[in-house]
């Protein structure tokens, strides 16, 4: 019976997300355009693009995720659904995990599907692309989970958008460092499993602790 409740929340989030398709596509277009700026700004020669490629893709992914992140709790908070969730007696950490999973599915999976095009734009080799995919697969849930904590805190504020970026960018730096170094070592045909293992460890830590932090931050902004 309880699973049905969470399935209900997930289904509701999906239907709300698909009602507002534009809000899903816009961060992706932002990502594509930011990546397009680098060859124009830096240089179109394939060697330079390949060297800066991983960093460009990851930085653009983080920036575009910051834009989509706010949508996670904003609607539910503004129309009062968050209050009803708190009062519905369901454990808030579990509810927030369901909402974070829904948000990850809706905004990061399209990003993963777009990554081949970005790899072609920045002239990445096949092994670099595989490493990039692995780091994205492990890294983006981490972005969602940690991002949800900050979104929970700033959702009550009117001007939360930019503040969210200021809060989250420092926290995303370790992920950025290990992800880009993994792709760089893939470019040099070196093994990149240590970096992946560190990212996976950070993800597991987040999965274990973030839901409670999210639930607490939602309660704080409720008050």
């Amino acid at each position: 019976m309880v699973v049905a409740l969470y399935k209900g929340i997930f289904k509701r989030d999906m239907s709300i997300a698909f009602q507002q398709k534009a809000e899903l596509i816009q961060p992706l277009m932002f990502l594509l355009m930011v990546v397009t700026l680098f060859p124009l700004g830096v240089s179109p020669s394939p060697e330079t693009l390949q060297r800066i490629g991983p960093g460009v893709i990851w930085i653009a992914a983080i920036l575009s995720s910051l834009m989509a992140m706010e949508r996670m709790f904003r609607d539910d908070f503004q129309d009062g659904a968050m209050e009803q969730y708190v009062l519905s007696g369901m454990p808030l950490p579990a509810v927030s995990v369901v909402k974070v999973a829904g948000h990850w599915l809706v905004s990061f999976v399209p990003l993963l599907m777009l990554s081949p095009l970005l790899a072609v734009f920045l002239n990445l080799t096949v092994d670099m692309y595989i490493a990039l995919m692995l780091t994205l697969l492990l890294g983006t849930p981490l972005l969602s989970l940690i991002g949800a904590i900050a979104v929970g805190l700033t959702v009550g504020l009117q001007k939360g958008g930019l503040l969210l970026a200021l809060l989250l960018i420092p926290v995303f730096i370790p992920l950025l460092i290990f992800a880009t170094s993994a792709v760089d070592s893939a470019a040099l045909q070196l093994p990149y499993y240590p970096q992946l293992a560190i990212i996976a460890a950070m993800l597991l830590l987040a999965v274990a602790s973030a839901p409670f932090a999210i639930a607490y931050s939602l309660k704080v902004s409720q008050n």
């Binding site: 534009a22 596509i25 816009q26 277009m29 594509l32 355009m33 397009t36 060859p39 124009l40 240089s43 179109p44 020669s45 394939p46 072609v120 734009f121 002239n123």
Partner: protein, 251 residues
């Protein structure tokens, strides 16, 4: 001035005009595309340098030209809508936008596929391909802006302004990208010029261009009819239209 054009400002007349135009567009498109493609693929001579991969020109160049042409047509429709306050002009602009975006996508994809055997990479930051990509972003901007408005009337006006801003920027983007390309003239990217086209290569190209233009006209009329129905849902003539549509579908 232009008295004969005024009746088409009213939506029902414009709807009827679309219905009469559509069969002509479709027949023109099918004939020209068939003739142009078969002629280009099978009968036109090979290019002495690139061999048969050159035949992609018969869809790349028409779609590239028409992607630019559709954007200009969109801007003209926006201007007409703005100056003479014609709602149908805005609807035509919105009908054209996705068609132009698809044309730009076709030009991009065929350009990349054509470049692959030459440059060895699926995507190269060649001047024309880059400005074509930026044009696609302009199209997506106009479509996204229109989609963001709940009140389609207001959305049409806003998208119209963006279309005009875009059309002013197209030449600026084109020349700055050209200059950027020559500036970064890396040894790896050989300046790829359109080979001088022999007459028997040119004819299928022109026919295909006409074919694509007819195709754009046909799809735009369908989408214009959609926009008109979407905006006039409660008008009696649309109700009658929907009922007759479902009557003959049911019998």
């Amino acid at each position: 001035m232009w008295k004969w054009l005024h009746p088409y400002a009213k939506t029902e007349k414009a709807y009827r005009l679309c219905i009469t135009l559509q069969p002509w567009f479709w027949s023109g498109a099918l004939v020209c595309l068939f003739v142009g493609t078969v002629w280009g693929l099978a009968f036109a001579p090979q290019d002495y340098q690139q061999g048969d991969s050159f035949r992609i020109i018969y869809i790349h160049v028409p779609s590239a030209i028409l992607s630019m042409g559709t954007y200009v047509a969109m801007a003209v429709a926006a201007l007409v809508g703005m100056v003479w306050q014609w709602r149908t002009a805005y609807m035509a602009m919105i009908a054209m936008a996705p068609v132009g975006a698809v044309m730009t996508f076709i030009a991009l994809f065929t350009g990349a596929a054509w470049g692959k055997p030459m440059w060895g990479a699926w995507w190269v930051w060649d001047a024309r391909l880059t400005s074509e990509l930026i044009l696609l972003f302009l199209y997506i901007g106009v479509i996204a802006l229109y989609g963001a408005f709940e009140d389609k009337q207001q959305g049409g006006k806003a998208a119209g302004v963006m279309a005009l801003v875009g059309v002013v920027n197209i030449p600026i983007i084109h020349y700055s990208v050209e200059w950027w390309n020559t500036l970064h003239q890396g040894a790896t990217i050989s300046k790829f010029d359109n080979p001088s086209i022999a007459p028997e290569m040119l004819w299928p190209l022109l026919i295909n261009l006409l074919g694509f233009a007819f195709f754009i006209g046909a799809v735009t009329t369908i989408r214009l009819r959609n926009e008109i129905v979407r905006r006039e849902l409660h008008r009696p003539w649309v109700q009658a239209l929907a009922n007759t549509y479902y009557e003959n579908k049911r019998t």
